[in-house]
Symmetry: none
Subunit: 208 residues, 4 copies
Amino acid sequence: MSTKRVIKHPDVRKLEITRAAEILFRKKGYAATSVESIIQKAGIAKGTFYYYFKTKQDILKNLVEQIATNMETYFISVIEDNHLSAIQKLKKLLRSPEKKEKINPSVMKIIHRPENRELQEELNIIAIKVIAPLLAKVFQQGKKEGVFNNTVSVESMQLILAGSQFVLDSGLFHWSSEQRKKFLKELQRMTEQIAGAKPNTLSFISSE
Amino acid sequence: MSTKRVIKHPDVRKLEITRAAEILFRKKGYAATSVESIIQKAGIAKGTFYYYFKTKQDILKNLVEQIATNMETYFISVIEDNHLSAIQKLKKLLRSPEKKEKINPSVMKIIHRPENRELQEELNIIAIKVIAPLLAKVFQQGKKEGVFNNTVSVESMQLILAGSQFVLDSGLFHWSSEQRKKFLKELQRMTEQIAGAKPNTLSFISSE
Amino acid sequence: MSTKRVIKHPDVRKLEITRAAEILFRKKGYAATSVESIIQKAGIAKGTFYYYFKTKQDILKNLVEQIATNMETYFISVIEDNHLSAIQKLKKLLRSPEKKEKINPSVMKIIHRPENRELQEELNIIAIKVIAPLLAKVFQQGKKEGVFNNTVSVESMQLILAGSQFVLDSGLFHWSSEQRKKFLKELQRMTEQIAGAKPNTLSFISSE
Amino acid sequence: MSTKRVIKHPDVRKLEITRAAEILFRKKGYAATSVESIIQKAGIAKGTFYYYFKTKQDILKNLVEQIATNMETYFISVIEDNHLSAIQKLKKLLRSPEKKEKINPSVMKIIHRPENRELQEELNIIAIKVIAPLLAKVFQQGKKEGVFNNTVSVESMQLILAGSQFVLDSGLFHWSSEQRKKFLKELQRMTEQIAGAKPNTLSFISSE
DNA sequence: GATGAATGAGATTTCATTCAT
DNA sequence: TATGAATGAAATCTCATTCAT
């Protein structure tokens, strides 16, 4: 029954466990994911889990911090790149595969639940409070570059971001791919209207 | 010691239990609410709960159906009222106290969780699929009445609805009342831009 | 496997569980007694245990309070009986079978452990702080009745009580019955010396 | 990150671990002290602990044997010193700082617990069986020297020893310093009465 | 209709111990 | 000698659900 004891570098092991947990959290939610299922997926013993994480909550907190840091770092790195135009930055930030890896809406939902209230702060900061202002900055740059006519307020940015995330990325709705395309097209149009851009300036939004 | 057995009309009893559950679900989430706490709040015995509801899930399903029906009925009643202009209808639908009672974003969140997957359909129908198209209809009426210049697509409506709900009504963010006002103002402006309305046509959006 | 569900009066059930726990606590100590073993001895399911007691600690606390109350009540009842002489009271208090049932040195030891620190107060009150003063009172009565020549201070009483309890009743030593007799004889002599009584006035101390 | 591997003389290392364990056992009890906490206090790795001690029990056994040997050696060395009078010996044995270091009531309590039954014998020998008889011998010497009138039986000695230890040195009671003084005074008086000594012959008992 | 005692599967967590390096 | 990652049995506790009354 018992497999041989395999020793790995702590960082590797910890990452493996985190990955296993992440997958399960996304699939079944935090509460419905048992530590038992995590260790089975990770191929470790119960004790190993608790060697790396103090509690089940702890692994969630880890996950969040990781994502938060990743996201912010990535966004800032793009924004501070002086070689890029506003449009180029938006492309990178909104639809690039790099971003896909970092943002993690389902984990956000987990965290937002009242029983994880202590972790909310963290998320307030990233998703809406950090990312949206950073995006608003890029739109400002766009206005300077003459590609947008309006100033986009941080609040508008937050509303748009939240809306698209909830409708498109939350996984709560099961849209057909046509419906999805329609949504992205409308999102593009809305954003162009709000920013005062010429039609199709932001066409990359709707091309997945 | 033991409380007297109190016999009530089944419908009354059932409603009482449902109300107790609703309050707790909103406050602590579905998973974190124990049947024990529900019966305590409702002032009944364990067995009584299971006399009225097959399972814990069952009471949630009940709650959803109830809300869904209430909401849809209310929206349709307003929309079908031929005496009202588009603006009047929007006022009633978006900011009236009657609506406040019926829409229930926290229950929606409960339901949307993966472990309650069977209940999602229901909510897809109401929140985004039913309400948004109904609102889009009213905007269409508004265009006919000459108060809006653009057609507002169902999808835009859904994005705006989702965004405002998530940011403002989810209870996940703790905005100051000024920030809240700023959001509502921006929401108003965004909606006016999208609908192609004159500034302040939809001022009621930002007057709580 | 599963036996039929047997429903009993809560008081009866609670007492049964308490008794089972008491026996195991005495035999193996508090820490070494698992809830599992308690429920097996009591013939109940895990849940039933936690239906009656919030935690494992809780049943210990219960036990203590029970003993404390019993003991004090009994001692006071004897002391306030005006028909009895000091000697008669001491007989009743020190060696009667009624007392045997109430005092419970092994539970006292459990409680005195540092990890149960919160429960110590309780015991300070009974064993040393309550009982010893009550006994000292009886010795005072004895002096008035002319059977003792010395006043016995509360502190002396406490030291004697503690010593005899630790050596004889703690169960930590495994004395032969002769050794035990010798101890009781010496305890008798010591007490007589301290109280200033004629030899064998307190002979009942050494006659089990 | 990882601390350098420090190599020490085995005896030194073993002593360090033993000391760490002793402190923790006294503070929190044997069961409540984890091997983890011991290695942390000792600044070593898990494996190192198990290199020096077979099991957790093993370190306790070590501790006991050490204490037992120390104590007995010390007592005998004092008793066999022909230059000292009985009173001088008692002074050394009962209240000297050397003794303080060697006797160890809290470890005794640990050991006396039922789950450590195998270790009890050891302690029966020291605390009550070895020390008390040795003290009784000194009282005998005192009688020969004319300073005591009565023979003090081993059993009386054991009762007094146990009582004073339990009440005063167990740490289970939190006496004020006045109460403590009162106890010592009464202990002195009791002992003098039992030994048949003139008042204040044993005054050193009550002078800490 | 209503009660609440009883259930038991399963969840989280602890910790003494092992073993590959 | 020394390390610390890995183990897994066992402990405590939760809670939706059942059922005799």
